[in-house]
């Protein structure tokens, strides 16, 4: 299958401008799976709950509409982040969109830093989506530091992890090498670039979007400071074989009776 990412440079609060940048970046691109960054249309550095709410939408809002169009134009399943409103709650979510329709949202279960001040922690299970015969697990950014997240998605049968990010720390890209290797899954980490200086915060996002293979090889790596698109071919079925040699199936070899949770 063809999997890829868009690494964008959003302008805070300017959804139409940010949609247009992504449309430009994806002109003529066809794929089976495209991952966009966390909060790709709004920017990241909110200063209050009200501000997050103001830029929030339901899963039938204009960001969903944009992704539905994008899925029709590219032929791809799209996973990308948005501020999700549901009643009084505000979630840091990803939309999962395919063939012009919203399949689901994933609500980030591990909130980073001040996200805790405006977002509600995700309240839905980690989930693997069987789309056009491929099994796609979804997580968001800081979820990466909890090894149980990718483990859970891999145990649920994920072949490819779709991982929208707004990374400000330098560790995730390297960690994905280990996580992919230990779970024998592919990962598409879509990060953003640029800086946001708002209130007391001044974040620079680290780019370096990355596609990693089931055996820990980095198949695609974006620059740290510029928008970028990459689409590559992978054989996602390879992730189904958990044997790393004649004797070791790294899932069957787990000694869960000795693990503490």
């Amino acid at each position: 299958m063809k999997v890829g990412y868009v690494q964008n440079a959003p302008v805070f609060g300017e959804k139409e401008k940010n949609f247009n940048q992504i449309r430009e970046l994806l002109k003529g691109v066809k794929a089976d799976l495209l991952v966009l960054p966390e909060l790709f249309a709004t920017g990241y550095t909110f200063m209050s709950e009200d501000e997050a709410r103001e830029l929030g939408e339901t899963k039938d809002g204009k960001t969903a509409k944009f992704l539905k169009e994008l899925s029709n134009e590219t032929g791809a399943t799209i996973v990308g982040g948005f501020v999700e409103l549901d009643g009084q709650n505000i979630y840091n979510s990803s939309l999962i969109v395919s063939k012009g329709g919203v399949i689901d949202t994933y609500r980030k279960i591990h909130l980073f830093n001040k996200e805790k001040l405006w977002f509600t922690p995700g309240d839905k299970p980690l989930k693997v989506y069987d789309i056009n015969g491929s099994k796609i697990g979804v997580m968001i950014c800081f979820d990466w530091i909890f090894s149980e997240v990718i483990r859970t998605l891999a145990l649920e049968g994920a072949q490819v992890i779709a991982h929208p990010c707004n990374l400000v720390m330098p560790y995730c890209q390297n960690a994905m090498i280990t996580h992919c290797l230990e779970n024998r899954v592919f990962d598409v980490t879509a990060n953003r670039v640029g800086s946001e200086k708002r209130g007391e915060d001044d974040f620079t996002f680290t780019g370096g979007s990355q596609i990693t293979s089931f055996d820990g090889q980095v198949l695609s790596s974006a620059p740290s400071n510029a928008p970028y698109v990459s689409v590559i071919d992978i054989d996602e079925k390879k992730s189904e074989n958990k044997m790393i040699n004649k004797y070791n199936d790294i899932f069957k070899d787990r000694r869960t009776e000795f693990y503490k949770f």
Copy 2:
């Protein structure tokens, strides 16, 4: 505390020779914790269960005696690998030795490759030892690929992981950066160097013994092809603070209700 490792180049089956090499390497060294490789006195590449049994010992054998002497000479707690006999069972174990006495053995719970043909999988829990006020967790080599092992030891309060290895794959050293970071523990990985061509196997051990800090920094890294000793100072208490910023305690933030095991 002062922690370190010995990276040796054992000759298969020549215990006295291998003891002597380590004595030479440690001449004048003082430390609080010293980690020796997996199976440091016997070599690794057995060709039969009988051969493993022949080189095996109880926890009161000559390898234990050697480590007891070493602990007296260096002042250190020593963790190093040996073939443990217990009744009819043969384990790939580590001795934990302090102040001239054996504290315990850890029996490797995840056997690699042909180890499954001669060793019995470990039957005792992963454990953290409180020795002279420091909390030391023990695992062996291939245990590293199961992220639950370090997680379990960290949740049990380990400050430092003692990790005897005979690594033949190139992944572990980099993985320890991620595992230490995600658990905020220190790790001392002691690997061996040299090659063993025995029967149909021809292994080259990758050296690169490594001390990694709670924040993912590599504090010491040995060459890939020569014996080496390193002892450094660490502040093991730093591993007790699981806060990575003002808002995130990466242990309290775990959402275990969503993890599958």
